[in-house]
């Protein structure tokens, strides 16, 4: 077979000399690069040429050998364009496994489509993308493009490794820039990868890397962008959609943003001002005034995603939001700010990354960053943070979307980096109190009150907004351990003042107790089973992190059926370690009454790859004990 392969190769090799020139044959790929890889980037090169403050040219070359279907996504054959970004050229050539050209794809063969996703109401961004049906695997695509843009505020970040299950043979970044625009860069996570800086002068910067092996995705890992090498770049003197900008310090950047982009957007009609003043009346307390305004905005407006204007960075006018009652995060934050101004409460637009995964604004790298905006109201030495896109969030609550991260607060005198609210692990509580009864057929009936606070409030309170069929689905998933579950009355108490959400739920289920002969067997912990499924990962490489800790406590009364005696009761159990503490206790009150107590505390934290197995075992022991069973015998 090997001989045949070589013979074939030789034949093609000699008959098509260009194949030799490109060296795109898969035979040239070393085995180590194929390990765990769905695709191999033979070449990933970007040439960024900044010609002036208002002109940037970017050339991309990507030669990708796609080994199997899953590697198709790595081709990345697309470019976005809009009013200020022009695609000068775009094309791709496809080669077979031996490096012979099989297809040329010209610009007109690329598909042209609106880049707005389903949730966006409107956007003028468009995309040209490669739509190629592979005829055999493996194959190689050589993609190249050139774009020109007047926006120099966003210089693409360079990732030496783009994601999981892709290896990189050659990776090259070349940047050239005038020496008077204040070009700057920051390198991240270079340690474990051999990255060569080949040029670093006042007008040029180049990096090279070779033979980066494919990485595997592992649960609880930080985002790839926090794990693998990357370079951030920026200009101190940049241009954004017709406006020149300066960002030497956060103060300067914040001032520019305030003066050039935000200025003049907070004017309100007199009628509205009068109305707001009447609404606030004689109230003088800052917090109370802010609350009245926030409540007004929540009732009046709704969130609509409209990506137009200065690269999506200039908010709609406050007067328009006032009239229309909708806007995106910037529009609604800015509108709230305008209303607060009317009653002399100062507030600041705040730029950040909104995501469940906590991402910081890089505080030591002054540049355009972030994807979301909230409002900061100074209150003594602290801030009240207002999420203006939500109509449900309690006043000042940050949940899990904007909590515990570095953000840029844009003050009139300049910008400042601040940390948002940190919800302490011990404050992220879920407290369950209830009873259940098992009858002689093993049928279950009970009720439970669950109060959730801290960051657990965010995940629980949304249940209130569910439709009946969604609610049913939610509880049947949540109590997936109880079969044949029937929901009775459900009552919610949403205490926004103290940020506490209480669910009061009645449930019933037939055959909860499994009857085998004269015995009945059932799991003691019916209401709160540990659901974290921590997978076994062989030779874990990445560190892992638990982003938010929590404390769950439960106290459940259990009524056993008459005519049965206890054959077996699980032992009390306690587990303590660096990850947290877990404890269960069963108290026998009389012959057929038990009290079950459970508490589970999990720390947030960052841990090394070596500690993962320990964590898995910790959680496994918790799950095992949550599954402990009572055995009853019929008298």
């Amino acid at each position: 077979m090997k001989n045949l392969c070589y013979a074939l190769f030789f034949l093609i090799f000699t008959s098509h000399s260009f194949a030799q020139k490109n060296n795109y044959s898969i035979l040239k790929i070393s085995d180590s690069l194929k390990d765990n890889a769905n695709a191999v980037l033979r070449l990933d090169q970007m040439d960024i040429n900044i010609l002036s403050q208002r002109s940037m040219n970017i050339k991309k070359q990507r030669v990708i050998t796609v080994l199997n279907q899953k590697g198709l996504n790595e081709i990345d054959g697309y470019e976005y364009y809009d009013k200020s970004t022009y695609i000068k050229s775009i094309e791709a050539v496809v080669y077979d496994a031996f490096g012979n050209e099989i297809k040329k794809i010209k610009r007109k063969d690329f598909k042209d489509q609106s880049a707005a996703s389903g949730s966006t109401l409107f956007s003028d961004n468009r995309v040209l993308f490669l739509d190629y049906t592979p005829i055999t695997y493996p194959f190689t695509v050589a993609y190249s493009s050139e774009i020109e843009t007047s926006n120099t505020a966003f210089i693409p970040r360079w990732y030496f490794i783009g994601g999981y299950n892709v290896s990189v043979e050659n990776c090259i970044l070349n940047v050239s820039f005038p020496n008077n625009l204040g070009f700057k860069k920051k390198e991240f996570q270079f340690e474990d990868f051999k990255i060569k800086k080949t040029v670093d002068t006042d007008t040029k910067l180049s990096y090279e890397a070779h033979n980066i092996l494919a990485q595997k995705a592992e649960d609880y890992s930080p985002y790839p962008s926090d794990l693998y090498p990357k370079v951030m770049m920026g200009l101190e003197h940049f241009h954004l959609e017709g406006v020149d900008g300066t960002a030497t310090t956060w103060e300067a950047f914040g001032k520019w943003y305030g003066d050039k982009i935000l200025a003049g957007t907070t004017t309100l009609p007199e009628e509205t001002k009068t109305k707001i003043k009447a609404l606030v009346g004689n109230e003088t307390d800052l917090v109370k005034k802010t609350k009245i305004i926030y409540d007004y905005v929540q009732k009046k407006s709704r969130y609509v995603n409209i990506a137009v204007g200065i690269g999506g960075w200039k908010p709609m006018l406050a007067s328009d939001v006032d009239r229309l009652g909708y806007g995106d995060c910037k529009a609604l934050s800015n509108y709230t700010k305008a209303l607060l101004q009317v009653v002399d409460v100062p507030s600041y637009n705040t730029i950040l990354y909104g995501d469940r995964y906590k991402s910081n604004i890089q505080s030591d790298f002054v540049s355009m960053q972030g994807n979301h905006m909230i409002l900061a109201v100074p209150n003594g030495n602290n801030y009240i943070w207002l999420e203006c896109t939500s109509q449900d969030d309690p006043f000042g609550y940050q949940g899990t979307f904007t909590d515990d991260r570095d953000v840029l607060v844009v003050k009139p005198q300049g910008g400042e980096i601040v940390r948002t609210t940190i919800y302490e692990d011990k404050g992220n509580t879920q407290n369950g109190k209830g009873t259940y009864t098992i009858n002689e057929n093993g049928d279950f009936s009970g009720n439970l009150k669950i109060a959730s606070q801290g960051s657990q409030y965010a995940s629980k309170s949304r249940v209130e907004t569910f439709q009946p069929h969604e609610k049913e689905k939610h509880y049947k998933d949540y109590w997936g351990n109880i079969n044949n579950l029937k929901l009775g009355k459900i009552t919610f108490t949403n205490d926004k003042e103290n940020i506490r959400f209480t669910e009061d739920v009645q449930i019933a289920a037939s055959n909860y107790g499994v009857i085998s002969g004269n015995k009945m067997i059932f799991t003691v912990d019916a209401f709160n089973q540990n659901s974290d499924n921590v997978k076994r990962i062989r030779n874990r490489k990445n560190p892992f992190q638990i982003q938010r800790g929590y404390l769950d406590t439960d106290e459940i009364e259990i009524n056993l059926p008459a005519g049965f005696s206890i054959e077996f009761l699980p032992q009390n159990y306690e587990l303590k370690g660096k990850f947290g503490e877990y404890k269960t206790e069963i108290i026998k009150n009389d012959s057929n009454k038990l009290t079950y107590k459970r508490s589970m505390f999990l720390n947030k934290g960052k841990y090394s790859n070596k500690e993962y197995d320990e964590y898995r075992l910790f959680m496994e022991q918790v799950s095992r004990n949550d599954n402990a069973k009572i055995i009853l015998t019929k008298n």
């Binding site: 049906t133 009046k300 009239r323 109509q391 907004t465 069929h469 085998s516 067997i521």
Partner: protein, 663 residues
């Protein structure tokens, strides 16, 4: 039992039905409507459509002839915050015609009504709230977002769609994820066009039709005003209190159930021209499709394939062998570009050189090659699951084509577009409704696509039990037909390590060794057999000197798949299936049986589903046998409760334990 997943209701009242006193017009919002806090029938509704009105009429232009004008009016009430998304409306319209002008769409009369201090406040939509975008070369979209919308608001809007496409009309949907209080749809068709109206869903609706005189005035090519008269068929459909349609699991396609009025052009009979038939019967549909150049010609344009057929069939004699060789050849050579169609796009010849093509191109190549090989083969039109189940003969009722070959007087269905299909094993989304086989003379007949033969998953497990609850076992799992196909699609391209890692987790943290698999991606007509040994501490609990064993091990189901209380739509399983599980248990020395699970047998609907569980013991061995047969691919919603109860009862039996005690 036959599944009745579509209920077509025709309620023709030829007499005029008096329209109810209530007026359904835009601009007539009342304080009471604005004050209403919850929907009177469905208190959970986040919003409701107070009315939807539609009208389809024709206009005439001497250059382009007749075009259709569709007008829609909506009045929507918002009850809850979750209903606010109804304040954003988007409509897509077609612009990708080859011979017709683009469709035109315009919104108007968009107003938000609120109650401010007891007074009705109107806010009109301005330009700022309207958006247009080009989605791709075929579709454009226009959208509006209403100003000043709050909980309690009422929204009104209208849009008009003008289209020269009079062959296909937009469907008039009258059932949504929120309730519809009232709807009406008026159509006025000139006698030249005969449309068939079809009604989908389970709602009762009223309908009247009458013939009246109609007229059109237009400007002729010299700019002179002209008028002509004709007979016109006016129809009126209306309905009240249409409940919300909610998503449910195990549903093939929600559109099969949505209340809707559809129109299909049947015939055109222009004055002094022969009558042109469009669709009347499925036979007619098939014949129209067959006559199209992108179909009929493409299944006879085949001389370029002859050389290759000769080459690959050099030493192959039997028809069955010949079919298999050709099928595999096309399957390997051709690559599907993920486009469904029963018409070719670039043509079979170009597709063959490119090695890529749409469904028609790939399967027509297969068809042509089979014919060259002397095998009787015909195209079969199919509607995929996504395309739904058509209620009336229409060309859009199909969207896909496969091949039926005749081997030893038996019909074999083939689809060479995917990599793991095989003769009589088709992609799962083609197992929908009926196919239509077209013979070379253009005549056609209906055929079954859903297989009668059940696909099997048989597992046999032998375990050795230790006193501490540890289990060592050996497993053999055999999957046939669609079970094998599904396995190949999911795991065929996966490497063994990552598959085993996943399998170990799925089966409850086992340690797997000695893994072997046959026919994973080769011999894909044959069953897949997996064998492995395992070790685990789960499934047996040692409590108080006794051993509690879950006899179904990792096959122990923990959940009833049916948890919903009520059901609107049919329950879809896809294809008949048979599961068998044998577990042989060696009792550890020094133990005897205290309790064995009770044998159980349950069935539904004349064995449409049957389940049985049996336990035998002899000496120190226990044999546990479980079988499950699902013989229908779909069950009607009214059987939901019986089905749910059946699974619930079986679940209780499946979770019964074997208890061993010290001898």
């Amino acid at each position: 039992m036959r599944a009745r997943f579509l209920l077509i209701c025709f309620v023709f009242f030829w007499n005029n039905v008096k329209v109810l006193a209530q007026k359904y017009e835009l601009g007539k919002v009342t304080v009471a409507e604005l004050q209403e806090k919850v929907h009177p029938i469905d208190s959970s509704a986040p919003a409701a459509i107070l009315f939807k009105k539609g009208k389809t009429i024709f206009t005439y232009n001497y250059k382009t002839g007749f075009s259709a004008v569709h007008t829609y009016e909506f009045k929507i009430k918002i009850y809850k915050k979750e209903g606010l998304k109804w304040a954003d409306q988007k409509v897509q319209y077609y612009v990708g015609y080859q011979n017709l002008n683009e469709d035109l769409l315009s919104f108007s009369n968009a107003v938000t009504y609120n109650l401010e201090n007891g007074k009705i406040e109107k806010t009109k939509l301005e330009n700022q709230g309207t958006f247009k975008r080009k989605i791709n070369e075929y579709w454009n979209e226009k959208g509006i977002t209403f100003p000043n919308v709050k909980v309690g608001s009422i929204l009104e809007y209208k849009y008009v769609l003008k289209s020269e496409n009079i062959v296909q009309f937009p469907d008039f949907d009258f059932q949504f994820s929120i309730p519809v209080n009232y709807f009406e749809y008026k159509t006025q068709f000139p006698e030249f066009y005969i449309y068939k109206a079809l009604l989908v869903g389970t709602s009762t609706i009223e309908n009247t039709s009458k013939i009246v005189s109609g007229s059109q005035s237009y400007e002729n090519e010299y700019g002179q005003s002209r008028n002509f008269l004709y007979q016109q068929i006016d129809s009126f459909y209306s309905g009240k209190d249409i409940p919300a349609l909610k998503e449910e699991p195990y549903v093939n396609n929600i559109e099969n159930y949505r209340g809707s009025i559809k129109h299909e052009l049947e015939r055109v009979r222009m004055p002094e021209q022969p009558v042109k038939d469009y669709t009347i019967t499925w036979e007619g549909v098939a014949s129209t499709i067959f006559k199209d150049d992108h179909f009929g010609k493409e299944i006879n344009k085949n001389s370029f394939l002859l050389e290759d057929v000769k080459k690959i069939l050099a030493n192959v004699q039997s028809p069955k062998e010949r079919m298999n060789v050709i099928f595999q050849y096309v399957q390997n050579k051709m690559n599907w570009n993920e486009k469904n169609s029963y018409y070719t796009d670039k043509g079979v010849e170009k597709a063959y050189t490119d090695q890529t093509g749409n469904i028609a191109e790939i399967n027509f190549i297969l068809l042509n090659m089979l014919k060259w090989a002397g095998i009787e083969a015909n195209p079969v039109l199919v509607s995929t699951v996504e395309n739904g189940v058509p209620v009336y003969p229409t060309r859009t009722g199909f969207n896909y084509v496969i091949v039926a070959a005749e081997i030893d007087e038996k019909q074999v269905l083939l689809d060479a577009s995917r990599k793991f299909t095989s003769p009589d094993i088709l992609p799962l989304n083609t197992l929908n409704w009926k196919g239509r086989l077209i013979k070379s003379d253009g005549t056609s007949k209906e055929i079954d696509l859903v297989p009668i033969k059940p696909s099997k998953e048989n597992a046999s497990i032998t375990i050795k039990l230790n006193e501490d609850g540890k289990i060592n076992g050996k497993v053999r799992i055999q999957r046939t037909d669609y079970e094998a196909y599904k396995f190949r699609v999911q795991n065929g391209n996966r490497n063994q390590d990552s598959y085993l890692e996943k399998l170990e987790q799925q089966l409850g943290d086992l340690k797997i060794s000695d893994y072997g698999i046959t026919n994973k991606i080769s011999n894909i007509s044959d069953p897949i057999v997996e064998t492995f040994s395992f070790e685990t501490n789960n499934f047996v609990e040692s409590i108080g000197g006794k051993l509690y064993i879950s006899p179904m091990l990792f096959y122990t189901p923990s959940k009833n798949p049916f948890v919903q209380e009520n059901r609107q739509m049919g329950i879809y399983f896809g294809y008949p299936k048979q599961e068998k599980l044998f577990v042989n248990i060696d009792i550890p020395e020094g133990y005897t049986i205290e309790i064995l699970p009770k044998p159980t047998r349950l069935s539904l609907e004349e064995n449409a589903i049957s389940l049985s569980l049996n336990v035998l013991s002899e000496g120190n061995k226990i044999q546990f046998i479980f079988t499950k047969d699902i013989n229908n691919s779909i069950f009607a919603a009214e059987h939901y409760n019986a089905l749910k109860t059946l699974f619930q009862k079986m679940l209780a039996s499946q979770n019964e334990k074997i208890i061993l005690k010290k001898a």
